[in-house]
Amino acid sequence: MKSLQKVFLGILIISSLILSGCGQKTVSLKKEVPLQKFVYNIGAEPQYLDPGKATGIPEFTVILNLFDGLVRYDTNNQIKPSIAEKWDISKDQTTYKFYLKKGVKWSNGEPVTAHDFEYSWKRALSPELGSEYAYQLWYLKNGEAYTSKKITDPNQIGVKALDDYTLEVQLESPTPYFLSLLTFTTYLPVCKNVVEKNPDWAKSKDTYISNGPFKMKDWIHNDKIIVEKNSNYWDSEAVKIDEITFTMVESGTTELAMFESGQIDFAVNIPSVELDRLKTEGKVTIEPYIGTYYYLFNTTKPPFNDKRVRKALTFAIDRKAIVENITKGGQKVALAFVPYGIQDATTDQDFRVKGGEFFTDNNVQEAKALLADAGYPGGKNFPKFKLLYNTSEAHKSIAEAIQQMWKKNLGIECELTNQEWKVYLDSRSKLQFDVARAGWIGDYPDPTTFLDMFISTSGNNDTGWKNTQYDDLILKAKGAKDDWLRMTFLHQAEEILMDEMPIIPIYFYTRPTMVKPWLKNYISSPLGYTDFKWAYIDEKLKSK
């Protein structure tokens, strides 16, 4: 008996020693006014925290609060000057000259100059850096040529620091939405002296230098990133928050539990099954999200090469039932492709509102008529086909619902096949499917990010659908001098898309978020990330 107990006690002592070691409790000694801090869950360990390389939303959220660019969205979502005081745009809209503020500093105290911007953009375009988002900078003259090694001299790229505080930018072609692009992470500057000396600067918290409202305090991989107020920030008075902790909780159920137990204050990955309850408890706010959930047709395979069949399948879906009973996140029914939340020619008009709707939801009569017209009355001898989706509960539920709708409304049988994420992407790009699920979130708030996806030469056009008229319209839009003309071309392009129907729009995304009531004045971008520069905590509300 004795020997067993000795062993047992020994193990217990050792394990408690290990435990005490890992409990990093930060004990703040000095008594001071309560720190304004909160916890935001980005849901995953970032792939890159280097602005030149970042691609995902978790990365954008962290980087946007650590860095500041030439311009920045303000609390009512308008682009305002930030490091650039003012700028003039050439008549042909291809040359921009930015005049930078003086006295803007990096978190290590060094000054932010135009040279930093020039160096950063050229670095992001460089083949050696291998940035996945290099193509976001292809608007600059010779940007694409430099990345694809057609030219090797970086000075030919259309960005140049005329002096410490003026930056001249040359574009390939006029881009009316170029200013909104500047809010993109790939256009943020990095500190030239630091980065030149240490290419791995973005890999650890000790060498991480930024120029935004916050600076990096701690980075525990796979667990949390802690950022604190950056005293060297040029506009630091506007910043009220002292510290933000970004947690990386992947499971929605867990995030919800941690939110309700006070461990997380800002949650963005809410399980749809809980949305009803949370809405009644008033805990959830529906943020806009520029994205469309749709199905792709493989237009090269009969019967989907016939427009009438495609339209029949599109009209026979009850989208209202799906958004109300399955997704439950306040999503809007998609009766066109470009979502709401994108400005038309003038700021007060929305592209979607102006474009209107192209068909009515759950229009079973017309669907049946079209199907009969296409030679399959009542679905007779309609070939069995497969509906491909990638592994996830939400996609499965929607696919199962639509499968039944087609069966009931059109009498056609479809089999659901589910593939792991990258196998599914591979099948899609190789057109190895009949109908497939897809989703697209806009890169920037402009219709082109949605519509240029379906030009014949686009790498993202997985429908095999080619239409020269559509391609011309998009090309003309890209070259259009003024916004009004550009928007008319884009509307016409969408009309063709909706008439040919290579895709089935289903709903427009929303971003249900749960935020503690005492966290105020944060900016929730329709592109999915959140800016806390002007945010503050209502201590009274918090202490209640």
């Binding site: 929605g252 039932a321 592994t391 509960e393 499965k396 539920s397 199962e400 039944q404 589910n418 196998v423």
Partner: protein, 303 residues
């Protein structure tokens, strides 16, 4: 009792030669009789048969189909019309649990079969042959243990696509290693015992020794391991279906119903309750039956 001399006459001997002799039974009949004696084993058997009927014949009596959706009465808690309630697409959970039973029971049996056929034989051979062969066979098991199952599963999905048979193939590849290790361990100690030497002495061949002497002696751990692998198999199937190798939606096994249901544990707990109950019930009955079998088949317990 008064003793009188008459009592002392010799007793004529009735020629009943032997006392009543039990009817001669072969091994299986005797095992069946002894199995019938243990109440638990019979209870287990009855529950399994009930679940079998529930899964295979149940749907016939119900009008609602497992795939019939009605989005506007999703998440209705159990009522008379839908005794197990409805799921997120308004489908009747009762009929889905019935269909789910078919898959999960099939997978459970397949897993036990794979375990018993491949695992026991592999482990037995490895343990009995010993030496170089044992070393190689065990290292192969180590390799199979280490290979990432998810990689193999995705490859199978790409090559084979969905289907119940593919699950059996996935089980066949990697699901018997645990059993093999345990049986090998047992056989290693058993083969040193006298009865193996005795068996060899009377000229029993290697396979006879292994299958008629050694393996029956490890019947205990075998049955325990086999029955314990069943829930793993059921949830391994749900993992495979989640990846796309298993049964394609809207058909769903207990494992899939449970993994979908757990997400709604706060709002609609009945969604996880019924699949979980059936899995536990199946496990209990397999185990009672297993224990009963172990006692019935174990040669040493036959007085």
């Amino acid at each position: 009792m008064e003793i009188n001399p008459k009592l002392f006459e010799p007793l004529e001997r009735k020629e009943e030669t032997t006392s009543k002799v039990l009817p001669s039974l072969n091994y299986w009949q005797d095992a069946w009789i002894r199995l019938k004696k243990s109440k638990l084993a019979i209870a287990g058997l009855i529950i399994i048969i009930f679940i079998g009927i529930f899964s295979f014949l149940g749907p016939v009596f119900l009008k609602s189909k497992y795939f019939e959706t009605s989005l506007y009465n999703a998440y209705k808690s159990p009522t008379l019309e839908h005794p197990f309630g409805t799921d997120e697409l308004g489908r009747d959970v009762l009929v889905r649990v019935m269909y789910g039973g078919r898959i999960s029971l099939a997978v459970g049996f397949a897993a036990s079969l794979v375990n018993l056929l491949i695992g026991v034989v592999y482990g037995g051979l490895s343990g009995y042959l010993g030496g170089k062969v044992d070393e190689i066979m065990m290292r192969i098991v180590d390799i199979l243990y280490s290979l990432p199952v998810l990689l193999i599963v995705i490859l199978l999905m790409v090559v084979l696509g969905p289907g119940l048979v593919n699950i059996f193939i996935a089980l066949g590849i990697s699901y018997w290693t645990g059993m093999a290790r345990i049986v090998r361990g047992q056989i290693l100690s058993l083969k040193e015992q006298e009865f193996t030497l005795a068996a060899r002495m009377i000229g029993a061949t290697k396979s006879q020794i292994l299958f008629r002497h050694l393996i029956p002696n490890t019947i205990g751990p075998i049955i325990v391991t086999a029955t314990f692998q069943i829930p793993n198999a059921i949830f391994f199937e749900s993992f495979l279906s989640f990846i796309g190798l298993g049964v394609s939606a809207p058909m769903a096994s207990w494992g899939v119903l449970a993994s979908d249901g757990i997400r709604a544990i706060r709002a609609y707990p009945y969604l996880i309750f019924f699949p979980a109950i059936f899995i536990c019930l199946t496990m209990l009955s397999f185990n009672f039956l297993g224990d009963g079998l172990r006692d019935a088949l174990d040669p040493r317990l036959r007085r």
